[in-house]
Symmetry: none
DNA sequence: AATAAATTTGCAGGTTTTTGCAGCTTTTAT
DNA sequence: ATAAAAGCTGCAAAAACCTGCAAATTTATT
């Protein structure tokens, strides 16, 4: 058996089944596991496949998400860094959707061992690419506009959870109206998340501070931490601090 | 034996078998391995063959392997067309994940009003971009390798559903072992989907027919429809038809 | 036809590639 | 925590390769 021939077979099998074990290939092609491993290593170095412990995955399936032009991307990255620092090993983390949350997902440290619970399709896609975290998806009807799960079933599931911390990508926040949004179904979900978490963290670029929308999610007092791209000593935060909110 | 003559024989052999060993040619033509090597080198320099360590490969062999970005995309599109035609307005449709399912999602008619239920992240992302269909996501733990929901909670939810039709992107199918897969958790989900559907449709490119993997999902008899890129009159389907399966 | 020139072939030797194995470390699962 | 599986490293044997050279063969020329 020629080496290139063998590698062609391997590549074919991986593309056919999306995933494969060293041991299976080894019996199928009848060479030692070492040889298979070396082949997979080589194919992986050439970018043909994704090598994983015990086997390999097809490239087409695992393709990462296109990081398109997100509004205020730099500000959101700085927020993401601060937010990610609050998450410790072993925590149960509830998160909503939104571009800020996606940025936070990308900023998670490589070796974090935590459980992330979300109803957001894009967020889940990010989390799933992380090597060590566990991802729980809240199922139910998917909202087309927001790409998150909504509905009674989802609300019930969230209320059964008791999370250590909850991260909300927010749309509008001010002292008078509290945390507000403009999608009734999304508001229900966020409200449930707040109720199920010991600590609530709001992520917001400063432009969204002191603006409001139609539907209230919760009062300012119900938030525990507020993270923006500004430094905490900025005096736009004064009134929030007075309400007992920690600003990062 | 003239050099030209010998090289003609070699070229013929390579194109016939797609691959060849130096050692085989050497005994066959009865010249030294060095001569064979020099011939292969020359043919390779002229671009007639691909020289590799230990022998040579035909040009077509190598190019066919390296060609497509997503594997067998055309075949999958033809399958997707046939599958999409089975879905009618008002139906409840259960689907697994996999590239074939994604293609089906893309092939859905613009004005279809149906409800799609899935636990596959990539599939849900496709469905959500469709203007008129409703999407229900099955929540629970997400499997990193397959990007679908797995776990007891998901199984329970699926069993509560009663769907009109179920589409399974399949990994391996043969008469003896039935529908098989290599991921225990994924198998549980597929099994539940089959039980919850009035009609089960298996989508498979023909290469996966008459292959098997380690874990059985169900017997051949439990499938109702089998769709591949081949025409239904192809005789690879004979044994499946004998089991009462409709082939499209 | 004979001979010179050019090409091809086989071989000796030394080098590189490939492969499986043993021993040890890392990762994963229970 | 512990045991099993997978991975890594270095090694050694076999196979394949390369280089240079001389013998053999083909081709060209007189």
């Amino acid at each position: 058996m020629l080496k290139q021939e063998r590698q062609a077979i391997i590549l074919h099998q991986i593309n056919l089944h999306n995933r494969i074990f060293c041991s299976d290939l080894c019996t199928q092609i009848n060479v030692s596991e070492d040889t298979i491993r070396r082949d997979l290593q080589e194919l992986s170095n050439n970018g043909k496949i994704i090598k994983v412990h015990g086997g390999a995955l097809s490239k087409s399936f695992h393709s990462s998400i296109n990081s398109t032009q997100v509004y205020s991307i730099d500000k959101k990255k700085s927020i993401a860094q601060k937010a990610a620092s609050l998450i410790k090993d072993g925590m149960f983390v509830l998160t909503s959707g939104g571009t800020t949350i996606i940025e936070m997902a990308k900023a998670l440290p490589e070796n974090l061992h935590a459980t992330f619970i979300t109803g957001s399709l894009p967020a889940a896609l990010e989390y799933i690419h992380h090597p060590t975290i566990e991802v729980i998806f809240i199922g139910d009807k998917l909202s087309k506009s927001s790409q998150i799960t909504v509905g009674a079933e989802a609300i019930t599931k969230i209320k059964q959870i008791s999370a250590d911390i909850c991260f909300l990508g927010i749309n509008a926040l001010d002292i008078e109206h509290g945390l507000t949004d403009n999608d009734w179904e999304v508001v229900q979900v966020k409200r449930a998340m707040i109720e199920s978490s010991r600590k609530v963290v709001a992520l917001s670029i400063s432009e969204k501070l002191n603006t409001s929308q139609n539907i209230q999610v919760c009062k300012v007092k119900e938030l525990n931490v507020l993270i923006s791209e500004l430094t905490p000593d900025n005096n736009v935060f004064d009134s929030y601090k007075k309400e007992g909110i920690e600003v990062l």
